[in-house]
């Protein structure tokens, strides 16, 4: 099947084809009918011609024969014949020939002798044969018909003569030429071709016109003189001549076909164009809609296409409206219906150059999470909405938006100098009040980050957020963006990028701080501590990179490294005669990391002596239940678990109760001034008691003086570590330190109790 590219072509071809087929059918039918009609007409004319021929020749000859027969009965003539009066016979025949009007006439006696002859020659021998036949058959009636003699055709008759018995025959006849037949054709004004032929072997149907190739042929039996012969009159007429009168009709049909075909093609093309134009318009409009442009088509008619165009316009409008809604939604915070960050950024971007320098405030609603936990999401959202509306209402505030759950932002229009602090003050006064939302009164406080700059060249919004963070870090309620402080954060990020490389390159190494049994005054273990000596940065302190490693997930790799190094060190210590328990620090964030857990358990197998994992920040353990199980596995594997920095963080009694720890390390905050602060001493003593009663041994950190060590020992503290007992050292110095005596602890004093 063809695929038409246009409806016009399709319709045109279809209709023109249909028309052509119809016209062809009509033409064929007309041709058939005309041909049949012509054949019928010509056939009728030929039949008439045959009848005319019979009338003109045969019947005429029969009439003549009647005359001759009557003459043959004349008593005088018979008398002459029977008396052998030849001259009289000849004269009678001559008279008869002229009177009746025959070409030739003769008398043949019963013995076959030609007695008299008049007129043109006729084939007497053939006639005699006919006569002989007649004698044998005893035919005595008049006989008439066609006689063939070579090429010549005769119409001849035989009339018996009786006196009263048969005494002979009068024979007569004349040649029939083409001219004779033409006379017949002239009579019916049709130029047919006629011939009389022997009937034997002529298969044409008699008395019926047929089409024989390009000829219409009619054959008719004509009487034959000989009974055993037959003769046929054959008339032919060319079919083309018969059809000639219809040529005009054919021409008219052709012209009709050509003009009609043209008209149909043109009309269908025109119709299709009319039909296709609105469709093409719709198609173009649909493409516009697809491309996101607004589009509509002209409704120019009442028909289906008009309806379609109308529907299309409705749809297009609907899409535009919906898109508008979507755009609106995309720029609106769903919870509060305030503009969102995207709307704010777009507003900044679309500022005219006159506003090249803008001031952006990031405003955080403090303790929002807690407020939300109390009043619920919906009310807190309403609170934010109310705050937003308040903010928007402050004179000088140009745009506002909600950046995150608790943070709003605003662009303010003012001079940078003195006006800005005044404005921020105004804002704070406007916002910080008691809000009553759905009957719930809420007091709120805000912190602010302020940033200024050209939105085209700097990200003032991010800077405002940084300023907000800086305020938090500085524990103030307001900060202006400080590029330097932001630089530190950027440095930290680069630091983390370098950490793993530093591990590989050996820039990260361990130092070991000895742990002493306070009662016996001897070293029983070491705590492995990590150090980073960067060739470019110099010493990077653990306080600096450990939290960063925790934040960025690199603490896993770092801890594995530390574990391996520590295990090697323990081996060295053992080899040197120091069967120490090896303590390493494990971040609470790693507890629950299944990969690390397996790794650590496997590594512990290699340990030559006891291991202790000092777990810091127990509160940040993501899944406490799971964390407890992991710690239990460590304990089951023979690894001691120690609660590090107890008292400084968010450690709770609940954890103490659950953690399967064997050691509690009291934070050095409490130990450093134990000899000065009665309060600290009291806390330590009770903590020691608490730990002991929970079945844990107690280690004190930050022992700097002998006094402190003595006091702690007195309190029942089991183990101690600190600068006063031994600094963190690399292995070689450690060995030396261990070799030296420890006077302060060599003889334990009784601490103040």
């Amino acid at each position: 099947m063809f695929a038409f590219k246009s409806i016009g072509t399709k319709l045109g071809v279809t209709f023109a084809g249909l028309f052509a087929a119809t016209m062809l059918l009509i033409s064929l039918t007309v041709y058939q009918v005309v041909t049949e009609r012509a054949k019928l007409t010509v056939g009728e004319e030929l039949t008439a011609a045959g009848a005319v021929f019979s009338r003109l020749f045969v019947d005429n000859a029969r009439d003549k024969q009647m005359d001759i027969a009557i003459a043959g009965k004349d008593f005088g003539f018979l008398s002459a014949l029977t008396s052998g009066d030849d001259p009289t016979i000849q004269s009678v025949l001559d008279g008869l020939a002229s009177r009746v009007g025959v070409g030739a006439i003769a008398f043949i006696d019963v013995d076959g002798f030609v007695v008299g002859q008049s007129g043109a020659a006729i084939p007497m021998d053939t006639l005699l044969a006919r006569v002989e036949a007649s004698e044998s058959d005893a035919i005595t009636d008049n006989d008439l018909g066609i006689l063939f003699d070579g090429e010549a055709v005769y119409l001849a008759g035989v009339t018996p003569v009786r006196a009263p018995h048969l005494i002979g025959w009068i024979v007569f006849g004349e040649v029939i030429t083409k001219a004779h037949l033409s006379d017949v054709s002239a009579l019916i004004s049709k130029e047919f071709t006629g011939a009389i032929v022997p009937g034997e072997g002529n298969m044409l149907p008699r008395g019926q016109a047929i089409q024989d190739g390009q000829l219409i042929t009619f054959a008719q039996t004509v009487p034959s003189l000989f009974d055993d012969q037959s003769s046929v009159l054959v008339l032919t007429y060319p079919l083309s001549k018969a059809l000639a009168p219809y040529r005009v009709l054919a021409a008219i049909l052709l012209i009709l076909m050509a003009t009609g075909g043209g008209a149909v093609s043109f009309i269908s093309w025109w119709l299709a164009r009319r039909l296709a134009k609105p469709i093409a318009d719709l198609s173009a409009a649909a493409n516009d809609v697809k491309a996101g442009r607004e589009a509509s088509v002209a409704v120019s008619s009442q028909d289906e296409l008009g309806t379609l165009a109308g529907a299309f316009n409705d749809m297009s409008n609907e899409i535009a409206k919906r898109e508008q809604d979507l755009r609106q939604q995309a720029r609106t915070d769903k919870e509060t219906d305030l503009p969102n960050r995207r709307a704010f950024e777009e507003a900044l971007d679309s500022l005219p150059p006159a506003h090249a320098h803008v001031h952006v405030l990031a405003i955080r609603l403090e303790r929002f999470a807690e407020i939300r936990n109390i009043i619920g999401f919906d009310v807190s959202a309403a609170l934010i909405t109310a705050v937003g509306e308040n903010l928007r209402a402050v004179p000088g505030v140009a745009h506002i938006a909600r950046l995150s759950g608790s943070i709003l932002c605003a662009r303010v229009d003012c001079e940078y100098g003195a006006a800005l602090p005044t404005l921020t003050h105004d804002i704070r006064s406007a916002l910080e009040r008691t809000y009553t939302i759905e009957g719930i009164a809420v007091d709120v406080q805000f912190s602010m980050g302020i940033s200024s700059g050209d939105p085209a060249s700097s990200n003032v919004l991010v800077e405002a957020m940084s300023a907000l963070e800086q305020a938090r870090t500085q524990q103030t309620d307001q900060a202006v963006f400080d590029p330097q402080s932001a630089q530190t954060t950027a440095d930290n990020l680069s630091l983390m990028g370098d950490l793993l490389q530093a591990i590989d390159k050996g820039h990260v190494f361990l130092v070991y701080q000895p742990k002493y049994d306070l009662r016996e005054g001897r070293a029983i273990g070491v705590e492995a501590l990590v150090r980073w000596k960067d060739p470019a940065r110099g010493m990077v302190f653990p306080d600096q990179f450990i939290p960063l490693a925790e934040e960025t997930g690199r603490v896993d790799a770092l801890t594995r490294y530390v574990l391996n190094q520590a295990l090697e060190a323990q081996q060295a210590l053992y080899a040197a005669g120091h069967p120490f328990i090896m303590s390493i620090n494990v971040s609470g964030r790693l507890i629950g990391n299944a990969d690390f857990t397996e790794y650590a358990l496997a590594a512990a197998q290699r340990a030559v002596g006891p291991l202790c994992f000092e777990i810091t920040e127990t509160a940040v353990i993501a899944d406490p239940e799971k964390g407890m199980a992991v710690m239990q596995r460590f304990v089951d594997a023979g690894i001691e678990v120690s609660i590090d920095d107890y008292g400084s963080g968010l450690s709770s009694l609940a954890y103490l109760k659950k953690i399967p720890a064997t050691e509690l390390k009291i934070d050095k905050e409490f130990v450093l001034k134990i000899d000065e602060s009665q309060r600290d001493a009291l806390l330590v003593r009770s903590t020691v008691d608490l730990a002991h009663s929970l079945g844990m041994k107690v280690t004190a950190e930050g022992i700097e003086t002998d006094t402190a060590a003595a006091i702690l020992a007195g309190m029942g503290c089991d183990v101690g570590q600190g600068y006063g007992l031994g600094r963190p050292m690399e292995l070689a110095p450690l060995f030396e330190h261990l070799a030296a005596d420890m006077p302060a602890l060599s003889q334990p004093e009784t601490a103040a109790s």
């Binding site: 018979l78 029977t82 058959d137 005893a138 009263p164």
Partner: protein
């Protein structure tokens, strides 16, 4: 076949004593059916002038009844007068163009009789100039030994003098010269029989069917 029969007859004749004899002639057509109304004559050798005696006279009247001559064929002894009697209610014009006797008896009415004497032997064809289909034949003979075959085609010549003679059998439709056959026969003392088979033309009155 007729010749062979003639020779058989000849031998029989030689062996017989000289006294009156007879000859039965039977004429058959091509379908072996007997042909009636054929005229049989016998003329003894040198017998010309033998008076016609002892022969029951044939009816010498030819009637015209129902537009037909009756009889169709008549044997007429020489010098016999034949009467033509009109028994129809219409007129007849009886004529003959025959060479031995041409005559024309114009328009005679009912029960009128006209007579003609036939003094030459031969065949006379009689017609009616008014009614084309009427035809009759007169066979004028000059021997006493003559007669017509019956429906079976047979006729017996009686009282024949033994010895040679000429036998003729004539019928107007018989094919052959003069419409007759001629045989030289010798009549023996005992009765003889001869049978002839000839071809006939078809005619108004079928040969052999009456």
């Amino acid at each position: 076949m007729d010749k062979r029969a003639a020779f058989i007859g000849l031998f029989l004749l030689l062996a017989a004593p000289a006294q009156a004899s007879s000859l039965t002639v039977t004429l058959l057509n091509q379908k072996s059916a007997g042909v009636g109304e054929a005229v049989v004559t016998f003329t003894p050798a040198g017998g010309e002038g033998v008076p016609i005696t002892g022969k029951p006279a044939d009816p010498l009247t030819v009637n015209q009844r129902d537009l037909t001559f009756m009889p169709f064929i008549s044997v007429v002894p020489r010098n016999t007068q034949v009467s033509f009697l009109n028994e129809d209610s219409v007129l007849h014009h009886v004529f003959s163009f025959s060479p031995i006797k041409r005559f024309s008896l114009k328009l005679f009415g009912t029960d009128e009789t006209q007579s003609v004497v036939f003094d030459e032997p031969g065949v006379v064809v009689v017609g009616c100039n008014i009614h084309d289909n009427m035809i009759a034949y007169l066979k004028v003979v000059d021997t006493p030994f003559a007669g017509k075959t019956d429906a079976d085609g047979s006729f017996t010549l009686e009282g024949l003098p033994p010895g040679p003679g000429q036998l003729t059998v004539w019928h107007p439709l018989m094919k052959g010269r003069g419409n007759q056959l001629t045989a030289e026969v010798v009549i023996g003392p005992d009765g003889q029989a001869l049978e002839f088979k000839k071809k006939f033309r078809r005619g108004a009155r079928p040969v052999g069917d009456y």
